[in-house]
């Protein structure tokens, strides 16, 4: 689909693709990508487009399926108009597609892929999110020092993200003097019932439950914990930031602590502007996934502006980006095309997300 | 020589003894008929001979070998082949293929030969196809080779079933009501055919309600009722046996 904002030279276009799950069980994340990038594109076009040409986005659905992702990648690589790709959402899709992008020499800037191997797949892979090597130790510090909990039970989702989160969290927490008393896992989208997991955690008598999970499961975990009559403090990662979580679990998640890349209450002007615009357009506050997609497009557009319409040059330009003022803070690509972002700690208080520190 | 010897065979379903303590024997080259009222246990008897049911009691000795409780796919290798009371062809296979499946137990091509289409493969396929067609010709089905079995008329299906059983070159052929659903003319032709088989040395055990056929063709007859053998002997004796008349033949016969 095309999103056009009347402004620059409408006869000439610069095309950037957004590849994400727009249908299937992960469609909500793809939609966050879509809304955020559409918003950014409007802004760019209102400000005169890229190289004086209109920025056109093209959206491709990969259903979060490895095979479809490679199909999409092949399509995009072959379409000479496409100068860069924002995507894909998950590691499965991103990694499967990466060899195609690398061969085709097309920038694959994933706002969300946190798999440690992703940027090792080639020179054209970029990511705009902390790997768990960065985030999980911060979370460990939050749990052990800020919350002062030593006996920790971990529940993590059995995917690449969850496993790396667990590994780095456990390592850091133990280094800080914490003790891991239980580690439990589950398959996302498949397990709905956490009572047995929670019961066996309960028998280990932890001080806190740390969640390497997404908001949907977290809602269920919190609810079921409450129903079982257990009352453990909860802590998690930036993946939990979603307004839906509070709707889903209500007071069962009251007092939950988490790390955050992005938080709508952020006072920095870039963030504030984005949140306001997003709210105006969609009637809800953006989540982390929207935020990273939004700024990813900003960076890619910037790189095209300087490099011109040449894929290799765009890659080189993108790799040079440093101190980009994004909505999640200042962004610099490392030489491995990874980012390190500042994180804040937020918590749920009186049914709202608030800055804890 | 006794080809088949059955001793005290019993088959119980729960409390019901469908076949009750039957002893029975057959010589090579005989045609023997098994008759009796509906539900007397005739088909059940066949099912035990062919390994579909495992007898509750008793033994079956075939060709000097105890085959009681042997699985159906092995029984046919021993040399007993059958037809079914309710036709059980392979409906979506051609007539020829039906017969070729009948030859399964007498042929050997395995994965290797099939995959690499060895000389042996072609030899066996050729030989089998040739034999199958010969057999089909004997029942006037040669021109139906490539027809699906399900598209055959009823009488043709019956004949195909017989040929399929014969394809296994059995020492003993079991026919379960082969004439059912045939008109008198077809029955006549069937009778000739069975005679022809006998002349070539076949041994046949026949279940049939068509008394004309049974009486004309059988060397001996066994009569079952309620699972029990109530009479045995030559056609004449059976026809005049009061018990048989009462239980089975009725006054009209």
């Amino acid at each position: 689909s095309t999103e056009t904002a009347a402004a620059p030279d409408a006869t000439e276009e610069i095309t950037i693709a957004v590849a994400a799950p727009l249908s299937g069980d992960y469609a909500q994340y793809g939609n966050a990508f879509r809304r955020a990038t559409e918003l950014k594109a409007e802004e760019i076009n209102a400000a005169g487009g890229i190289l004086g040409k209109e920025l056109k986005l093209t959206f491709l659905d990969d259903r979060n399926d490895a095979r479809e992702a490679t199909n999409v990648a092949q399509r995009l690589v072959g379409d000479k108009k496409v100068l860069g790709v924002i995507g894909h959402f998950s590691s499965t899709a991103s990694l499967a597609a990466s060899s195609v992008y690398e061969e085709g020499g097309l920038v694959q800037l994933s706002p969300t892929t946190s798999h440690p191997d992703f940027t090792k797949q080639g020179q054209y892979m970029f990511r705009n999110i902390n790997t768990q090597a960065v985030e999980a130790p911060i979370a460990a510090d939050m749990v052990v020092n800020l919350m002062d909990k030593k006996r920790i039970a971990v529940i993590y989702i059995n995917n690449d993200w969850g496993i790396t989160a667990r590994d780095h969290f456990v390592e850091a927490a133990e280094a800080l003097g914490g003790e891991i008393v239980a580690e439990e896992t589950f398959i996302g989208g498949q397990t709905q019932d956490f009572t047995s997991t929670l019961t066996s955690i309960h028998s280990k008598n932890p001080d806190i439950i740390f969640l390497g999970t997404f908001y949907a499961e977290t809602g269920m975990i919190a609810q079921q914990m409450k129903q079982l009559g257990y009352d453990y403090p909860l802590a998690g990662l930036s993946s939990l930031y979603n307004e839906e979580l509070i709707k889903l679990a209500g007071d069962a998640v009251e007092g939950l602590y988490m790390t955050s890349n992005f938080f709508p209450g952020d006072e920095r002007p870039a963030a504030k502007e984005f949140v306001d615009k997003f709210r105006d357009a969609h009637g809800q506050v953006p989540n982390q996934f929207a935020a990273v997609a939004y700024e990813s497009l900003g960076m890619l557009a910037g790189a095209i502006e300087t490099a011109g319409e040449d894929r290799a040059a765009i890659r080189n330009e993108l790799a040079k980006i440093a101190d980009y003022e994004g909505v999640t803070g200042s962004i610099t690509f490392s030489k491995d095309r990874d980012v390190i972002k500042e994180m804040s700690i937020i918590k749920i208080q009186n049914g709202e997300f608030v800055i804890a520190q | 020589m006794k080809l088949l010897e059955v001793n005290n065979l019993t088959m119980a379903f729960g409390g019901l003894k469908a076949v009750n303590n039957i002893s029975f024997h057959m010589e090579e080259g005989e045609i023997i008929s098994l008759i009796g009222p509906n539900g007397a246990g005739k088909t059940t008897f066949f099912n035990m001979l062919t390994g579909i049911y495992i007898p509750t009691e008793g033994s079956i000795v075939f060709n000097g070998k105890n085959i009681t409780g042997t699985a159906p796919e092995k029984i046919i290798k021993e040399g007993i082949a059958r037809t079914f009371q309710n036709i059980r062809l392979f409906p979506h296979m051609t007539v020829l293929e039906n017969v070729l499946v009948g030859m399964h137990s007498r042929s050997h091509n395995g994965l290797f030969h099939s995959l690499f289409r060895t000389k042996k493969f072609y030899q066996e396929e050729k030989r089998n196809a040739y034999k199958a067609k010969e057999l089909l010709a004997t029942v006037n089905l040669a021109d139906k080779c490539n027809e699906y079995a399900k598209n055959l008329a009823y009488g043709q299906q019956r004949r195909l079933e017989i040929v399929r059983a014969l394809a296994a070159q059995p020492k003993l052929l079991l026919l379960d009501e082969p004439a059912a659903g045939m008109n008198p003319q077809e029955t006549e032709a069937l009778m000739k055919y069975i005679r022809g088989l006998k002349d070539k040395g076949a041994t046949i055990l026949l279940i049939e309600h068509d008394m004309k056929l049974v009486m004309k063709i059988s060397d001996r007859i066994y009569v079952l009722d309620h699972g029990v053998k109530i009479a045995e002997g030559l056609s004449k004796d059976i026809q005049n046996n009061q018990d048989v008349i009462e239980a089975y033949l009725g006054k009209g016969a």
Binding site: A27, G189, S200, K247 | I52
Partner: protein, 292 residues
């Protein structure tokens, strides 16, 4: 901990049982592996939720209305997708693929209509719980188990004793002969689908309420587990569905609690396979003696 785990297992099991009862009924009557059951279950839950939140209906009216509407959806599914296949004497697998089509269709429709986010389902029947020493049972858990038992008994009576039940069985066993008895076969099958969809809704809503959340994918695993439970219990045997559901639920829970949470479904399926190896016709399924 052990008692609590058993309670957890029985609850999960009764959720499976609840889903499996409807599944096994349609399964038993139509001998159709029905992959649309899970998505109908999900649809029913979403509908009930929407009626409550968007139209502000109370739980019970919303529940009843969604049962009826989803039941009609069942009819539509039958008429549009499966009846044409029956008309043409299609093989069973063709219908199976159609039900897969239905399930893909429904799931994606719901996603487009309601979004793919997990949504909160209000705990409309918050009845509290009984606390024992080391474990607790909530009344909702008991209601779920009870509902599945009641449905099982009700359906058993329906299928075994009533005229329509006999017509259902006759239709399953020989459609042509059923017509010759004067049974309106298509009406019977449509009714079966209505009932199946209505039962799926009952399960979907109760499960949604129990977990206080619904999402468009909730029916997928539920459908598979219901299928597993139905087969484990013996196809078409209603009490078997309950038993099968409970066994899968308890084994899964104990596996997660005592062996490894990552392997829970694997262990549950391994137990299922092991049971079927010992009893090839399912726990309560009867071996039919072949008669030729």
């Amino acid at each position: 901990m052990f008692f609590q785990q058993i309670i957890n297992g029985i609850t999960l099991g009764s959720i499976y049982a609840l889903t499996a009862v409807g599944y096994t009924m349609v399964f038993g009557i139509l001998e159709l592996v029905n992959f649309s059951h899970g998505s109908v279950y999900m649809f029913g839950a979403f509908l009930c939720l929407t009626l409550m939140t968007a139209l502000g209906l109370g739980f019970f009216p919303a529940f009843i209305i969604s049962i009826v509407i989803t039941g009609m959806l069942g009819i539509v599914i039958d008429r549009l997708a499966l009846l044409p296949l029956r008309r043409k004497n299609a093989p069973k697998v063709a219908s199976l693929i159609s039900t897969i089509g239905i399930s893909i269709f429904l799931q994606n429709l719901v996603m487009v209509m309601w979004g793919s986010e997990t949504k909160n389902f209000p705990l409309a029947l918050n009845l509290g719980h009984i606390q024992f020493n080391s474990f607790r049972i909530s009344y909702l858990q008991m209601i779920i188990l009870l509902t599945s038992l009641i449905l099982m008994m009700g359906l058993t009576l329906l299928v075994k004793k009533t005229k329509i039940g006999k017509a259902m069985r006759a239709t399953a066993q020989n459609m042509e002969a059923a017509k010759l008895m004067g049974i309106n076969v298509n009406l019977i099958i449509t009714f079966t689908f209505f009932l199946g969809a209505a039962l799926a809704t009952v399960a979907g809503v109760m499960v949604g309420m129990y977990y206080q959340s619904v999402d468009p994918m909730m029916g997928f695993m539920a459908g598979l587990k219901a299928f597993a439970a139905a087969v484990l219990g013996g196809i078409g045997v209603l009490p078997g569905a309950i038993l099968g559901g409970l066994i899968i639920g308890v084994s899964e829970t104990l596996a997660a609690g005592y062996i490894h949470s990552g392997y829970r479904d694997a262990i549950a399926f391994a137990i299922l396979i092991a049971v079927l190896l010992i009893k090839p016709t399912g726990l309560l399924g009867q071996k039919v003696q072949k008669k030729v």
